[in-house]
Each structure stands twice: as structure tokens, then as C-alpha cells.
Symmetry: C2
Subunit: 420 residues, 2 copies
């Protein structure tokens, strides 16, 4: 421990550079009116973000590799051939965003990884095994589904061929867009197997702020079920069709939303959200012929999540009869809850204690790349507070001091794991 | 009466031409896949429909005039200067359509008007006062609101200047589009005041078919209230925001739809429809920041309609508090119920009897140009059945025989009103 501490004293976080890079990356794809940035996976703006990240990796003289799904890896190599041959300690997250997003979601984890290797560079030290900084492709899943695709492919949960064939909401093929922006690499995604994986992220929820805790020690992550539901009714004249004779797809969709709200309210941890909804023909004086909407169900308990899915399906069956509509539901994504590696969770807690930060163990409400990598390597996550719990929004904010606290814990955990 | 009948015997409806023209006009803007046609007001396709109508008016050697809002008038003139100076008996409707519409809504009334004057031409007879066939601009109100705009301007309910300044859902200015398609005329809309006004239309509802009646004698028309409601909430992460801490604009919109459904179900004649709804940012894993939707309320009783509007406003006020959202509602259109001219209603009923058709007196569920012209002249409407009550849909259908029945009644009423 003493030597470790001595050594750790030489390897220091450069907070100024980390904060500056967060701002610079946040300016790419930024809309000056809303203050939000939009770097949806494999668009021109996201390519610009990738180019900036790669440039920063070059400045740190990292070994840069791109895999076939476009995941970017920047590796700080150790000195000896034996050490070089070891599996890397990986620090990762993503730099793609939702529409009109904040600057921290994902980017904070990737750039804090760069800050860790920068600390080694500035101390002129080398680690005793490779440290790889990873930026995974399409974590948000806005344009191409499922989300967390890059890390999912790495973990072998989705074949690279299937992933490249994915058709986006805009009709584009993922493989084509990846080539177009110049990030279709050669590395086989499944060949990248880390020794251990760490991800630092903003909470994107209100819990740490509400309890005035500086660090979230993430124990587990709730399961996610995404469905797309299409309701087919009849487009009739809004003025001449008696209510009892209607097959109103819009009304049917609204009643599903009401059902989901009550389902969530009546359960302990289940969350239910309808974030996207479209009506056709979408005219003021025509009853909706069809309604297409998404359902996002989450629960840290797999049994509870399954029960929510079952209850929804049962309700849709009743609604079909009751409203004389046809309902088709399609699973877009499904991930079971994840339990993170206890050794890493304990290590993160110990670091938070050693550095004197207030902390709490907690569940991750959002999906993260860490849940995918957890399938192939020990994984752990560190959270910092989000003001008002807001994310996926220009008002997403974490104080600089809190951002640096999280990066300090990440660096400390890395040093401990490398037993340096 | 005898002379009338004798005379009427010479003036006969040419059913073949009427049915052929309905089909020809229906082919303009038609989508061969869906079988529906789209001639939204002042688009290129609607201009093509206008050009065809004007060509047919020319074939009948009618006096053609276009007013400043683009209403098309084709007049069959009487013989003497005295008769020519009389106010015209007007037969009108519209030829613009909703998206993916049927071939009869509106067009049936206009082309039946042409059939009436054709009957005079083919019998080589002249009426004792002008007969004007009118096609009113933008009855559907899909692109520019309010709907029934052309007849509303004629009736002095909307100034021509305001109407021409209307900005469409696609950002275009009505006056510019009217010029672009070449239908910005010189006639002052309010200078056109009919002696009497008749409109023949498909029911667009299921009542006549359900009761196996051939003719609908329209006594009145229900009032219409159109509103656009915008709900402002907060865009938070779908996975990390506890249900109790959400300000979900999408959920709030769904609860308004539920409220309206219950309001309509609990009243005798009120109809409530939400036909258009859009969420933002409209993403699967983001709680909706805003929801913008339309409300279409109808009732034949003005007091009932007002009460529905009041109850909706009261509910929105409660919802604002309960869900922590901001709600703004804007009146897009508001028309009181209309009572049609009793003399004309009786005349239509008498004609239906004389021609041996089964009929019923009824309320019009849809809005029609007749309700606007009723403000400045005695007006009446004739309905024919709609199969399955379907309209604003490619499956809109009325049997040829039923279409000709309606035209027969129209022609007979015209001959009676002209006391020929």
C-alpha cells in the first residue's frame, strides 16, 4: 500500500485538460439556440466528434484501433513484451448522443479515460498492463436499434453481420453509414477482451443530488425492455362517426399509455415510458387510422420486468377486442438486469472512502456499455450527481468539482487494480 | 304544378355524364397504390382539378368568374336583361380534398350542379334567373385553417386580407399559393350574394345506410370547435427518472384524450376527436418534453358545445397543476350550429316524396360550405348514403343509383324554386 500511495502521488489527474476537452467535444454538433448538441450515431456531426477524439488519442501517443462496428480503442502500452501481451484494463463509454443532448452523457467516461492515461504520460510512467480507452458505437440507439450496439457486438451478443445490416429510422443501412464516415475498421469486435472494465458516468437521475452524495458506487443495473407497438384502426370522419362506432387508433394508443402509467405507479421499481408516438393520417378532422409508438419498460428485478411485459400483452389483447383494432407489438431490445463484479464494486467503494468522498451504493437506472462488457469481463461503474436528475437535454449539468471527484476515483481504482 | 311537371319532363338529368365526370375528377391526384386521391387546397394537384372543372364549365358555355379567395363560379344566364339582373340560385360545394381521400366528398355537389345546368342546356331551355355553380376554396382546412374558408370569406365571416395572409402547415402563405396556381381572381367575394343556396353532399356518416333511407333532408348542422393544445413538460431520461418526479407531456396528452373520450361518452350528442398529435423530441428513451395535438369538438346544440369547451379548459387547468406541465390552447376554428332555411328544407322533403324516395330529416355531422352561405342567403342541404359511413378515406363509396337519386332531388328542387 505505501509504495502504491507513493507511486500514486506521482500520477496526478490534469483536471484542467479534462474539463476543457469536455467543453470542446460538447461544442461539436451544438445548436447555439437551444444550447443542446446532436451527434446521433454515424452522422456527419458524430464523425466530427470521433475525429476529435482520435486526434486527442494521437496527442497522447496511444495505439489506435477501430473494429468492424466502429468502436474506437486507444491503448497506452506497458514497457515489456510480457506486459504488452496482457489483456488490457479497459475504461470506456460512448460519444454519440440523442437529439439535443447535454455534453456529459458518455463523453465524460471516455474523456476521463484519456485523463487517466494522460496522468501516466505526464508522470512519465508506464502501466504494467495495457490500458485501453474505448468509445463504443451507437450507445444511444436513436437512429439504429438496439442501443448499446457497439459494446453488445464486442460482447458477442449480436453478430457483426447482423449489426452492419441494421436499417435506421431514416432508412439508411448502418454498414453503409459506417463506411461513409470512414470508421469501418478491421479489428474483429469479439477479439477485444478486457482484463477488467471500468465506466465513469453521470447518474442521469436525481438520487445522488437528493441525498447530497458525491459518488455513486453502482452495484447493479436495471433490465430494459423496448417494444414498438402499432395499432391499426379506421380513418373515419371526426364529425359524422358516433363515438360507439369508432375504431380510433389514437384513442387506443392513449389508453395504452394510461395503462402503462398505472402499471408503473402500482409497482415498486418498474418504470414505463412512451417517448415516441405517431398518428396517421394525423389530420385534425380525421379519426386516426393507425398509431405507432414505443414502450420503454425497466426494472432491476427480472421477474418484475417479465410480469410488466406480460401484463402489457394481456391488456393489448383486451384492447384489440374492445376497440375493434388490430395491434402488433415488436420487441426492439431486451436486456436482463446486470449485477456488477463485487470485487470491483468494493474497490470503487474503498477508493471513494480513501479519497474522503461521500458515496452510496445504488442501481443504475440507465443502460450503459458496462452492462454488455460485463458479459465477457469483470465490470464496474462509478456515478457522479446530475443536477435535477436531468439528462438527454441541454440542461444536463454536473459541477466541475463533482466531475473531477469522479475522475479521481476512477484514476485511484485503476492504480489499485494495476497494483502499482 | 301541371305546367311545372310538363316542363320538368323536358329537363332531364344526364346521369352518365355526371358519373363519368365524378370518376374523371377523382382520377386527378390519385395514388394508384392506395386508391385514394390527395388534392389539398392550392397544391398542383388541386390546380389540375380546378382546371378540369373550368374546362367543363366552358363546355356548358357558362359565365365563369373567380373571386379574390379563388372561389370558382360558373353561371348559366337567363334570357332577358331583367332576369339576368336577378340574384342567382346557387348550387355549390368544393373540390379540394384531405390526404388520401375518396372521390365524392364535395366533388359530388359541384358536379351535380353542372348536371343541373347541363339538363337545361340539353333541353335547350333557359332558367328565369341565373343559376350559379360554385366551387369554394379550401373547404377541408388541411393545409390552411380555418376550413370552409372560401365560403366563410364570401359570407363576410373572414376578411379577404386576413385570409390571403394565412400561413399554412407547410409555412406557405395562402395568397402566394393562390397566385402561383393562377386562381387569384378579381371579384370581391362579398359581392356574390345568392337568392338561395343548395348543396348536395354524401352523408359521410352511417345513419342513412343504417336506416336504409335514400335521401337525407338536412335540417341543421352541428357546431364545431377546433383547438390546438400544446403541453410543455420536461425531457428526462426514461430509465433514471422515478414516475413521481416526471413532467411527461406525452402522458399528459394521453390523459386529455382519455378525458375527452369520457366527456363524449357521457353526453348525448357531443363528439370529441384528437386526430393529430406530435411529441418532441419523440425518442424511445426520452420522456416527452412537449406534446402538440388538436381537439375537434362537435355538437348540434350550442349550449352543449360550450359546456364541452368549458369542461375541457377546466380539466387542462387541473392537469397543469397535477403533472407540473404548462398547457396552452389556441382556438383554430369555431362555428355555431346552423339551422337551415325551413322553406328549403320543406321543399327538399316534398321533392323526395314526389320522386318516391325514402328519406329522413337529419343533422349534418360534418361542416359544409352551406353553413357559411346560410349567413347571407336561405340555404338547404341534401344528403345521400355513405357506405359504412366512411369518408376522408379511399373506401368512401356511394352506389351510382344513390348518387343519381340525390341529383334528381337537386334538379327537382331547383325547378320548384324557379317556379318553372
Amino acid at each position: 500500500m505505501t509504495s502504491t500511495t507513493d507511486f500514486a502521488n506521482d500520477i496526478r489527474l490534469n483536471g484542467a485538460v479534462l474539463l476543457a476537452q469536455l467543453q470542446q467535444l460538447g461544442n461539436i454538433g451544438c445548436d447555439t439556440d437551444s444550447g443542446g448538441r446532436t451527434r446521433i450515431a454515424l452522422t456527419d456531426d458524430e464523425k466530427a466528434g470521433r475525429d476529435q477524439l482520435v486526434a486527442w488519442m494521437r496527442e497522447l501517443d496511444l495505439d489506435i484501433g477501430i473494429d468492424q462496428i466502429g468502436n474506437i480503442f486507444g491503448t497506452l502500452l506497458p514497457a515489456t513484451p510480457e506486459e504488452k501481451s496482457l489483456a488490457p484494463l479497459m475504461i470506456g463509454s460512448h460519444i454519440d448522443t440523442v437529439k439535443n443532448a447535454g455534453a456529459l452523457d458518455g463523453c465524460y467516461g471516455v474523456l476521463s479515460g484519456l485523463a487517466v492515461v494522460r496522468a501516466f504520460r505526464e508522470a512519465n510512467k508506464q502501466p504494467n498492463r495495457p490500458i485501453t480507452i474505448a468509445a463504443f458505437t451507437n450507445e444511444e440507439g436513436v437512429r439504429y436499434q438496439p442501443d448499446m450496439m457497439g459494446s453488445l457486438v464486442c460482447a458477442g451478443g449480436l453478430s457483426i453481420d447482423t449489426a452492419l445490416q441494421t436499417i435506421g429510422t431514416d432508412g439508411t443501412r448502418l454498414g453503409d453509414e459506417l463506411k461513409r464516415i470512414g470508421y469501418a475498421g478491421d479489428i474483429a469486435p469479439t477479439s477485444v477482451v478486457p482484463y477488467e472494465y471500468l465506466e465513469l458516468h453521470i447518474e442521469q437521475g436525481p438520487i445522488l443530488e437528493a441525498e447530497a452524495k458525491q459518488i455513486g458506487v453502482v452495484e447493479n443495473l436495471q433490465g430494459i425492455s423496448w417494444q414498438k407497438i402499432t395499432i391499426q384502426g379506421n380513418a373515419n370522419h371526426a364529425g359524422t362517426t358516433p363515438m360507439r362506432l369508432r375504431n380510433d387508433a389514437g384513442w387506443a394508443a392513449a389508453s395504452v399509455m394510461t395503462f402503462l402509467r398505472e402499471l408503473a405507479a402500482s409497482s415498486t421499481n418498474t418504470l414505463a415510458t412512451v417517448g415516441s408516438l405517431k398518428l396517421a393520417p394525423d389530420l385534425i378532422n380525421v379519426i386516426a387510422r393507425s398509431a405507432t409508438f414505443t414502450v420503454d419498460l425497466r426494472d432491476p428485478d427480472e421477474q418484475q420486468l417479465r410480469s410488466a411485459e406480460r401484463r402489457l400483452q394481456a391488456y393489448l389483447a383486451v384492447l384489440e377486442q374492445q376497440e375493434g383494432v388490430k395491434i402488433v407489438s415488436k420487441q426492439l431490445a431486451r436486456f436482463e438486469p446486470v449485477i456488477f463484479n463485487t470485487r470491483l464494486v468494493d474497490e470503487i467503494e474503498t477508493s471513494a472512502q480513501r479519497l474522503g468522498f461521500s458515496y452510496r451504493r445504488m442501481t443504475s437506472g440507465a443502460g450503459h456499455d458496462a452492462q454488455m462488457i460485463a458479459r465477457i469481463a469483470p465490470a464496474g461503474m462509478i456515478f457522479v450527481p446530475s443536477r435535477d436528475g436531468i439528462s438527454h437535454n441541454p440542461r444536463e449539468h454536473t459541477d466541475d468539482e463533482q466531475l473531477l471527484n469522479g475522475a479521481q476515483v476512477l484514476l485511484d481504482v485503476v492504480l489499485q487494480r494495476l497494483e502499482m
